[in-house]
Every structure is written in C-alpha cells, then in structure tokens.
C-alpha cells in the first residue's frame, strides 16, 4: 500500500478528529457542569454552517462571513439556552433526551423553511483552494490544514480558559458542585448561559469549516453528533482532555480504517470477500473500538466524574 496515500489519509483523519473535538468539547462541557444531555447540539453545527454560508454570501468574503457567523452562533446558543434548555437541567436524562429530540425536529424544520430543503454550497476563496507539499510529492489541500490548525488552536484556547482563568475556575467548580458555586455568590444562571453559548460557538465553528468541504443541508449535524457521543464515551464524560484524545483517535481510526482495512483484508481472504467485508467492517470500526475500550474501562479513558 502506498505510504503517501496512507499519510494523506492520516491527515484527513486528523482533520476529521479535530472537527469531532470541536463538537464534543461543547457537549462534554455542558454535560460536565449542567448534567445535561443535549441531542440538539448537532443542530448548532447545522446552524453555524448555514449562518456562515449566508454571511459569506452577504459580505462576499470568507473571513468576513465567519467573523459575523461566530457571534451570531453565540447569540443563537444563548437564546436556545434561555428559552428552552434552562428548564431541562432539573429533569432526568430521559426527559432531556426526548425534549432535545423535539428541538432537533424544530430546528431542522426552521432551517428548511428559512433556507429551503436544497443543499447549499459555499465555495472557498482562491487563497484557500490551493495545495501545499508538506512532504515532497504529497500535495495536501491548504484548507484542510487550516481546519487542523483551527482545531488545535481551539483546543489550546479551551485548555487555557479552563485551566488558567477565573471563568475556567468557575467551570471546574460548577462541575463538582454547582449549587455551592451559586451559594458563594456566583450568578450560576448566566454562567450556564455563557458556557452553553461557548459550546454552541465551537459546534458552529465545526459546521462553518465543514460547509466548504461538503454541502450544507438540513440535519448535517446529526451523524456528527452521534460520533461526538462515541468520542465522549471513549474519552470519559466531562473530560476535555479525554474528548481531545478520543476525537483524534476516532477521526484517524475511522478515516484510515476505511482505506486500509479492505487492503489489509485482501492479505487474508479472497479479493471478492475483502471487497464485500472491508467496507462493512470499516464502517463499524470505531464502534468496535468503543466497545473494546469500554470492556477495559467502563468510565472511558479519562473519567472526570461519575455520571
């Protein structure tokens, strides 16, 4: 097998992984401090993608579009928290799951009404469409490298916020005992709103970066959301560090597996059997990985709290 192809797929996996991290980070933060399972997190990915596509169209500039879409997604996130999610924190997980399931139906339909059911395409500006040769003989799209860079930067920013700021201190304190934080005079309601909106921005950012790679259509966030669940199960719910490592792991295993597994299987069985079983096994690979990790560590790799 061509090592350069494998390397390229490794980078694709890395890019997919950081995108999953952007989604999983918000999900795990919200779960960590508010004890809330939010299925509608995938809708925020979709809303980010749509807002970016629209604003890029208005401003005629890719960066200008993102600059408008990011605060807009923050505002949507804050609005959703205040109107709908706030009432759900005290409910049990089953009720949270079903209520946010209802929210997904609502958001998908709103998007269909505003932007129509047809897929949208947001092109890339010329300066982002090129390719670079990181390793001689292996050109790689600039935009995908930028996604990796943005993902790593966001991971760094989250780490800096959580570990070294007053806000991060409140987030960590809220995760261990949010009633006590409230009792000590912190406005816990606005803290929750801020954290949720922050998570929405990360998810929205994933959608914004995904837009130019694929098409933007209703429901694009949902398959990603389920993968983000796999990520936080593997990483340990509530753990940002676990989410990061698991996201990269899932991204790379899924992407490389799809290319390498059929080739690998050919070494053991007939070509025809490998061509049939290869894609089937490859599509299950990350779930098998998840199951294997759970057998060894039922609370994930980095359990932050018992949930």
């Amino acid at each position: 097998m061509d090592p350069l192809l494998l390397l390229e797929q490794f980078f694709n996996g890395l890019q997919f992984g950081v995108m999953l991290f952007l989604i999983a980070a918000g999900l795990t933060l919200v779960f960590g401090i508010m004890d809330m399972v939010n299925l509608a997190h995938g809708s925020l990915v979709m809303i980010g993608a749509y807002l970016a596509t629209t604003f890029i169209g208005w401003t005629g500039s890719f960066l200008g579009g993102l600059a408008l879409a990011i605060p807009a997604t923050f505002a949507v996130g804050a609005l959703v928290e205040v109107v709908a999610l706030r009432t759900l924190y005290r409910r049990n997980h089953l009720e949270q799951v079903l209520a946010t399931f209802g929210l997904i139906l609502f958001f998908n339909e709103i998007v269909r009404i505003i932007w129509g059911p047809i897929s949208l395409y947001s092109g890339l500006p010329d300066y982002l469409t090129g390719q670079v040769e990181i390793i001689p003989g292996a050109p790689y799209p600039v935009f995908r490298l930028i996604i990796i860079a943005v993902g790593l930067a966001v991971a760094g920013i989250i780490y800096a916020i959580v570990a070294h700021t007053r806000l991060g201190m409140l987030i960590r304190a809220g995760a261990s005992n949010n009633e006590m934080v409230g009792a000590l005079g912190i406005n816990i309601k606005s803290l929750f709103t801020f954290v949720f909106a922050l998570g929405a921005v990360f998810a929205g950012l994933a959608g914004m970066l995904l837009g130019p790679l694929t098409s933007v259509e209703p429901g694009i966030g949902e398959p990603l959301l389920i993968l983000a669940f796999v990520v936080i199960i593997i990483g340990g719910i509530g753990s940002i560090r676990g989410a990061f490592i698991a996201a990269i792991l899932v991204g790379v295993v899924d992407t490389v597996g799809r290319v390498a597994l059929p080739v690998l299987l050919r070494a053991f069985v007939t070509d025809a059997a490998a061509d049939t079983a290869g894609p089937a096994v490859a599509s299950m690979l990350i779930y098998i990985l998840m199951a294997a990790i759970l057998v060894v560590r039922p609370q994930g790799l980095f359990p932050a709290r018992t949930g």
Binding site: F31, D35, V37, A84, T87, R90, R91, N92, H93, L94, E95, Q96, V97, L98, A99, F101, G102, L103, I104, L105, F106, F107, N108, E109, I110, R112, I113, E222, I226, F229, V230, I232, I233, I237, T276, P279, A280, A282, S283, M284, Y287, I288, M290, A291, L294, V295, P298, Q299, G307
Partner: protein, 326 residues
C-alpha cells in the same frame, strides 16, 4: 397493576379487534392498513417499555432490533426462503443474540453512558446495513411476505391484520404476567435501587440483561411483522430517529404501564398522519413543515405530560424515578 389498567387494556384490544369489520362495512380499507401499522409499532413500544419503564434502562437504540427482525425476513426472502416457520425463529434468534451482546456491553455502564452507548451500537448496525451492497445498501430491498404453509395467508389483509393483533395481545398478556412475577419484581426493584438489590443478594446485572434480551427479541418480532407489512426492508428502520420515536411513544402513553405505550404508539402515529393534513387546512403548503409543530408538541409532552395518556384513564399516576435513575 390495578383493575382499571386491565380494563383499559381489554378495551383497547377490543377496539383494535373491531377495526376490520368496521372498515369492511364502511368500505375504508385504508384504515385497516393504518391500524395494522400502529399495532406493529405498539409491539415494539411495549417491548421497550419492559426495559425503559419497568427496568429504568434508557435504551436509545431499540429500533435496531426491529431492523434485525426485518432484515432476517428480507435476507431469507432474498434467497427464496419465504417460509415463516423458518423466518420467525431466525429473526428472533438474531435479535436475541444481538440484544444479548449489546446488552452485555451496555449494561456495564449506567445513566447517560448507557443512553449514548445504546445509541452508538444502533448506529453501528445502521451503517452496517448501509454497507451491505448485496442487500440494496442505502436503498434497501423489497421482500415477499412470509408463507405459513397455506395455514395463514399474509397477503389477505384481514388475516394479516389479525396475525398482528394476536401477536400484540399475546405480547401484552405475557409481559403483564412477567412484570407481576418475581422476575418483574426484581427488575423494578433494581430500577429504584440497584445497589440495595445487589446487597440483598440479587445478581441484578443478569436480571437486567435477561430483560434487555427479551425486549430485543420481542422487538425483533415486531420487525418481522414490519417487513411483512411494507414488503420492503431498508436501513431507514434502524435510523436513530426511529429509536427516539419509540421512546416518545412510551413516554406519551405512560411509562411502565404496558398498555400505555400501545396508546402512545396510536397517538403518535395518528398525529404523524393527521398533523400535516390539519396544517395544510390551516395554511396552504404548511403541511410539509409539520415537524415545526411536532417538535414543540414532543417537548410539551415531556415537560408537562407526567404519566402520559395512561394517566388520563388510570387512577394512580406512575411517577418517574429521581434524576439519577434517568
């Protein structure tokens, strides 16, 4: 399990039983198909209620066992094996085995981990079904209805309807007995306090796994009927939204009541059928956007509909467990 609940169950079944003669009298065969479909989903919802309502196991992947049952029929039919006496054991065996494996792994975890893991496993089989190019991949495949050696003709709408009806009635009766038995008592006790049950000496993991496997098997049977109903099998039946809908049916009807989920399935599917039509009447072209109303309805049911439809009829309102049990 009070007397009213039994009367409610019998009344509901009596209404289902009366549908075919009425559709013949009023010449409205459409309704027989619709109620048949409702009863198939009711079987799946009742099986979910065993683990969700009675066992407190929030499985977010239950539709997958319907898919396993349906694919068992579809794949056997693809190879020309239409005999129901073969298809049903294979379908039940497959869904039991998969339920056992998934359950064994998922039940090592609790709470929100359990919700997400059952969802992830369901998604795994969904993608597996999509990758099966031989069996139509994403598009699915058409399949024949099962044959029962001339004893039952599944292509006869009336006979097919009563087959589904009898299965539903037997499942309701069987689970009703099971829930009242010692086994059911252990499952319910483990829902309220698992640790205490273990301390008393019950291996709750094994009990829960048995319940999970049984629920998967019954749902597989619903899948067999579903494949027969549609004469078509596709990965869509395993889509995670269908697992969500089964949960909604259980909540809407009333958790842990068995007959509640039957009413919930009825209400949900009727709403899905008629909400677009009502919206179309209110405003032209509004019908296609029915989900914008359906979503908030679901939220309202979850937030305010304690006890579901069942609570409207029954004297005692079933109260959900504490936050931690969710």
């Amino acid at each position: 399990m009070d007397r009213r609940q039994i009367w409610l169950s019998l009344a509901t079944l009596a209404m289902f039983a009366a549908v075919p003669p009425l559709t013949v009298i009023f010449d409205q065969p459409f309704y027989m198909d619709m109620i048949a479909r409702i009863m198939v989903f009711a079987i799946a919802a009742v099986s979910l209620d065993l683990i969700l309502g009675h066992g407190g196991m929030v499985s977010f992947g239950h539709a997958v066992y319907m898919g396993v049952g349906a694919y068992a029929v579809g794949i056997l039919s693809y190879y020309g094996l239409d005999n129901g006496f073969l298809q049903i054991p294979v379908a039940l065996g497959a869904s039991a085995l998969i339920g056992l494996v998934f359950g064994a792994m998922s039940l090592r975890t609790t709470g929100v981990y359990f919700i997400m893991i059952t969802l992830a496993f369901a998604q795994m089989l969904y993608f597996l079904a999509i990758s099966l190019e031989e069996f139509g991949g994403d598009d699915g495949m058409s399949s024949m209805r099962s044959e029962f050696g001339g004893v039952i003709d599944m292509y006869d709408a009336m006979q097919f309807y009563y087959v589904i009806f009898v299965v539903l009635a037997l499942v309701l009766f069987g689970l009703h007995r099971l829930v009242l038995s010692r086994f059911g008592m252990v499952i319910r006790a483990a829902r309220s306090n698992d640790r205490r049950m273990q301390a008393v000496g019950f291996p709750t993991y094994r009990y829960k796994l048995a319940a999970f496997t049984l629920a998967s098997t019954i749902c597989g049977l619903a899948g067999v009927l579903f494949a027969n109903l549609n004469e078509f099998v596709s990965p869509d039946v395993m889509h995670w939204t269908h697992s969500g809908e089964l949960m909604v049916m259980v909540i809407m009807g009333g958790m842990g009541t068995l007959i509640g989920p039957v009413l919930g399935a009825t209400a949900f599917l009727l709403l899905e059928e008629y909400l677009p039509q009502w919206m179309e009447m209110a405003m032209t072209n509004a019908g296609e956007h029915w989900a914008i109303i359906m979503g908030p309805i679901l939220i309202a049911i979850v937030l305010f509909g304690r006890g579901g439809i069942h609570a409207l009829f029954a004297a005692t309102i079933w109260r959900s467990g504490g936050k931690r049990n969710g």
